[in-house]
């Protein structure tokens, strides 16, 4: 990094110090840009177009969610003005859009901006501007670093933690594992792979083959053939649903039967397992933190019922098999609660403080037993997952809720 930067971001002041400054100010109304007696402005970027447009559903649900919040009367009497822009998953565009949000629209904070490279591009900017970059929609591990980036917070379990859990599970359960890894050649894939290697520790030599693919590749057939050829008996599949499904099916087609670990990114039954063919998916292991709408074991669950009601009322016609809607619903809920906790003190500092003050907070759609916990030094809201094995047509949870110690 450019060393002579005189505007060193707020690294010097610890996050806790900033947060404590506003502690007493609860009684009277306090506002930063983007908040007033009547309105709270929240900014958001999301790829609605281009190759990553399948994530567009997340933004759509957010819009519906905040509309519903406003119809209920808003938060503490204030309407939410949710502004969302299309960045096409292009970092330069994200920078432009986020600057617009912060400087033109003057939002109080950004929320759930999507994509690792996109968030990386605005990471420093947001912290220099001291605008909360809350609950970013990416699982990279770098979002929970309150020491250097006190204005940025992740949401979902980070990729590295998840990969560590798989690695430990392999070490504990499979003797003489020979591991083949399929990985998307970008920072998302890389993050998983790094975590995985870390988790294997001294046994990292068990990885016998590592093949990458590009999102422009039409298929990953060639890669799966290489993986099979390595003689591996364990297959760690770090890919997005389309390619994960292809890989699972191809492995079955060419008669390769390793123990398969699938990243949570592709755990959707509708988007991955069904297209891959249920027959080919039996026994695959993944980790979950959210419920799946196509999984009938949750049919009687209150959260699920509430979500279905919400979808029917606010997003009629949407494809409810899409896991993006569940994810977006849960993170929107957390955001709503965070704002609620701010009360009349709608300053950016207080917002960060409230975001960092959840203790075993229950957010709907999270698996039973998983909750949100944050503190001034812990900017990873969800850190627990549960392993699950695919059986029949749904995931079969097993073992305890696993809390990662990483942070």
């Amino acid at each position: 990094m450019y060393k002579t930067n005189r505007r060193a971001f707020v690294a010097g002041a610890s996050a806790a110090a900033i947060l404590s400054g506003t502690r007493a100010a609860f009684a009277q109304k306090k506002y930063d840009d983007g908040a007033s007696d009547t309105e709270i402005k929240i900014g958001h970027t999301n790829p609605y177009s281009g190759p990553a447009s399948s994530y567009g559903v997340i933004g759509k649900l957010h819009q519906a969610y905040w509309k519903a919040v406003n119809e209920r009367g808003g938060i503490n009497g204030r309407k939410i003005n949710f502004i969302t822009y299309d960045d096409g998953y292009s970092p330069p565009k994200t920078v432009e859009m986020v600057r617009k949000l912060v400087e033109e629209d003057k939002v109080l904070c950004t929320f759930n901006t999507l994509g690792t490279p996109c968030n990386t591009a605005i990471h420093k900017y947001m912290n220099q501007k001291k605008v909360p970059q809350l609950y970013v929609a990416t699982g990279a591990s770098k979002w929970g670093d309150p020491q250097h980036f006190p204005w940025t917070m992740g949401y979902q379990p980070d990729y590295q933690t998840e990969a560590v859990i798989y690695a430990k599970h392999i070490l504990a359960n499979i003797k003489n594992a020979k591991i083949a890894v399929l990985m998307q050649n970008d920072d998302y894939g890389k993050d998983y792979f790094e975590g995985f290697k870390k988790g294997l520790g001294k046994d990292v030599g068990q990885i016998v083959k590592h093949a990458t693919y590009e999102t422009t590749d039409p298929t990953v057939d060639s890669q799966v053939i290489q993986l099979k050829d390595s003689g591996a008996n364990v297959f760690f599949n770090i890919s997005i649903p389309k390619f994960a499904a292809q890989a699972i099916r191809k492995a079955a087609d060419i008669g390769w039967k390793p123990t398969q670990y699938l990243n949570n990114v592709s755990s959707s039954v509708a988007a991955t397992m069904k297209p891959a063919g249920f027959d080919n998916c039996q026994g695959i292991i993944t980790s979950l933190y959210l419920m799946d709408s196509t999984d009938h074991q949750w049919d009687a669950n209150e959260d699920m019922k509430g979500w279905r009601e919400f979808m029917a009322k606010n997003m009629p016609g949407a494809n409810i098999a899409d896991g993006g809607y569940i994810y977006a619903y849960s993170v929107s809920y957390l955001m709503e609660q965070t704002l609620k906790h701010c009360g009349d003190n709608l300053t950016r500092a207080n917002l960060m403080k409230q975001a960092a003050s959840f203790n075993k907070f229950r957010v709907p759609m999270l698996l039973p037993g998983i909750s949100v916990s944050t503190s001034a030094s812990d900017f990873y809201p969800i850190q627990a997952v549960q392993l699950a094995r695919f059986k029949g047509e749904s995931w079969d949870l097993f073992g305890d809720i696993m809390h990662a110690e990483s942070s």
């Binding site: 093949a211 422009t216 057939d221 890669q223 053939i225 050829d229 389309k242 988007a271 297209p275």
Partner: protein
């Protein structure tokens, strides 16, 4: 050895996909001299139409024919309505229109059918043919269908008056008018045929890569390469070009893999396979500038 065969087979299967889309590109090129950037998205849209028809209860082949027919009409309409007024516009302006078309097809498909990937059935029997472990029945089926489409096209252009008229119109529009060919309609017909072939390609591809609005993005890139390798004006060349690109790409990955196995040093792999394949292709093209099967046409100054 086993890996070699598998890579070869998988390369051929991918090649068949590229070939099919490349055929559609060539169709438009020979009839209108344009490279249609929207071809992939149009094919994707057609595939959704067939999917929708199946959702409404039609069986695969009926939906297949229905989608092909609808696509044909759509292709003709696009030419008549959107491109007709731009007849005298510069080539690059038309390219921009294609990009616009691409954006519209892509986003409309997303808006209508959502971006969630969908499984798409294969019409071929599960395992009654195909060589187990090396090439699946669907892959063989795709190769077969591609070859059938190619022969149909060949017969159409060679033996039917309409096919002849299309070739005449493509080669020399003014002259074609002078023998009574309605050149405008030939262009529209070319678009219709290209859209229909694209529909076939999309339907064949969808089972392999799954159906989603972005499914053709990557494939179109390969299809361009395939069409150009074979000599852009030559349907047979496009098909061969498709197979060449598909196999070459896998062979690059295979070679890199073997080298890494033998020496333990990573030189080329999956990340670079397309690049290396394209470099080889371009190297060949600089030696044979009209494509492997194209003829050099000297234009008069």
């Amino acid at each position: 050895m086993e890996q070699f065969l598998e890579q070869l087979a998988s390369g051929l299967a991918n090649g068949a996909i590229y070939a099919c889309v490349a055929l559609a590109l060539v169709m438009i090129y020979v009839s209108t001299d344009h490279l249609n950037f929207a071809q992939g998205e149009m094919a994707m849209f057609s595939t959704y139409i067939s999917w929708q028809l199946m959702q409404w209860g039609l069986n695969f082949w009926v939906a297949f024919l229905g989608a092909v027919a609808i696509s044909f009409v759509m292709g003709v309409l696009i030419e008549r309505v959107i491109l007709r007024p731009l007849h005298n516009a510069p080539v690059l302006s038309v390219v921009v229109v294609f990009i616009g078309l691409l954006a519209i097809c892509n986003s409309m498909a997303g808006a209508i059918w959502s971006y969630l990937i969908k499984e798409y059935p294969s019409p071929f029997p599960k395992s009654s043919f195909g060589i187990a472990g090396v090439i699946g029945p669907h892959q063989l089926g795709v190769v077969l269908i591609t070859l059938i489409v190619l022969s149909l096209l060949f017969a159409f252009f060679r033996f039917t008056p309409l096919g002849l008229a299309m070739r005449a119109a493509a080669q020399n529009p003014q002259m074609a008018r002078l023998v009574g060919v309605r050149v405008d309609w030939m262009l529209a017909l070319g678009w219709g045929l290209a859209a229909a072939i694209g529909a076939v390609a999309g339907i064949m591809v969808a089972h392999i890569v799954y159906l989603d609005p972005n499914m053709m993005g990557g494939i179109l890139l390969y299809a361009f390469a395939a069409a150009l390798v074979g000599g852009i004006g030559n349907p047979g060349g496009a098909v061969v070009g498709g197979f060449i690109v598909g196999v070459l790409e896998n062979m690059v990955a295979y070679t890199g893999n073997q080298i890494e196995k033998l020496t333990g040093v990573y030189i080329i792999g999956n990340g670079e396979k397309l690049t290396v394949a394209l470099i080889i292709v371009i190297f060949v093209l600089t030696l044979k500038p009209a494509g492997l099967f194209g003829r050099v046409v000297v234009k008069r100054v």
